[in-house]
Symmetry: D2
Subunit: 131 residues, 4 copies
């Protein structure tokens, strides 16, 4: 599987990410996942978009383990975990780089063809299927 | 199980909820879930907060079925699905009120005692355990 | 000046709008302004967008007078205050409908032609110039 | 005036910052300003908060000059421009570090004493008054 498809992305916590509880809001964790995968895939995203292909989230899930405060260091590890014909899974770990995990998460991604108006097979140049 | 714990909450789509793809961003769906449960539980949230209890999301998951556009009507149905000793599940359906489902979702909620610094048993007045 | 161009729009406060201070975040006030003008102008927005015209904010300003809490009722009054050749001003008041003002604000709007790649004269059907 | 009170803060553009027009949403510029001043003042913010003092925005304004795209480099220059008895002004420039200005902005900041329930004189250790 393509090594370039995995990576560690530093995430900048903003004051606006905190909610009234004083920690990063639960929905913002999904923004962090998106920020990480966008950074990681950006060149391929743009190439696909030029061909009318959008990379959409079909399913997202997150297990919250530790709250994130304003000054916390946050790193998002992203890894391709499964590549199917019409979808692939990204697995994420949000952590502080020193052994503390904030959350583990997963998104199922699909490729949507804006011309055809439906999801299509995942292009081989985006993620490589095994075997 | 308490009937008052379920409900249908209209959600107002904002222009800012849309992302560059022109539809409501995937992370914003979780904000919609939060908005719905906050409306539904607001009195109990505030009563709990006065006693130092925060209602936190331990896990969140969402299956995306249809994109939401700016002018779409969005209703969030919320239902308590499981009540355990230390957590309970909320099940959500985001729909248009006319048979179209945007997403189904679930959050596992826990009660955190800010005084004790740890999660505690779910208070009976928040959700009623069966049997 | 066109009467249809002014209006009062109810705004739904979301838990996610609050920041760590427990009140609606200062940047979110601008989202409220946008939500209000989008509602008000939606038909004309879409008609313009179909012709490749985007309505952009050239300047925004807000005077904060009172904090907004989760359960506060918020109404956005919007009014066209000035119509020039290449821009027009919208004036806003965020209030509770009972005499309490949260903020007064103003945005200078311009029309951007995506085909020409530059701002153009404000179309007469969007806002009517006087005299 | 204190040199430490000014600075240049790199801002990370997130996919979620973009709106349906494909550029950073106008309200998000104010989040960028907040992110920059929070970074710059963080130690003093926390020291003040420990004493029950909140730093609030009394007024905010922004002149938009160029759109910001996902891959654009964004730097926020922050400078204290005026220090009065009960408020002070921060001036900002959002730019790309190579001569292109995205926006210039200003916020009027006040100090709110949560114990007294009102704004108070700006503490000398936050910003130094001249003369």
């Amino acid at each position: 599987m393509s090594q370039q498809a995995t990576g560690s992305i530093p995430i900048e916590v903003r004051f606006a990410d905190l909610d009234a509880y004083g920690h990063v809001n639960n929905a913002v964790y999904f923004t962090y996942l998106e920020t990480a995968r966008t950074r990681l895939f950006i060149d391929r995203f743009l190439a696909l978009k030029g061909r009318g292909l959008l990379l959409l989230v079909a399913r997202a899930e997150c297990d919250y383990q530790n709250p994130i405060a304003l000054n916390d260091r946050v790193i998002a590890d992203v890894e391709i975990e499964r590549v199917g014909r019409s979808s692939f899974d990204l697995a994420y770990t949000l952590h502080d780089g020193e052994g503390k995990t904030y959350a583990t998460a997963r998104t199922v991604m699909v490729c949507f063809d804006t011309g055809l108006g439906r999801t299509v097979e995942v292009p081989g140049e985006l993620v490589k299927r095994e075997g």
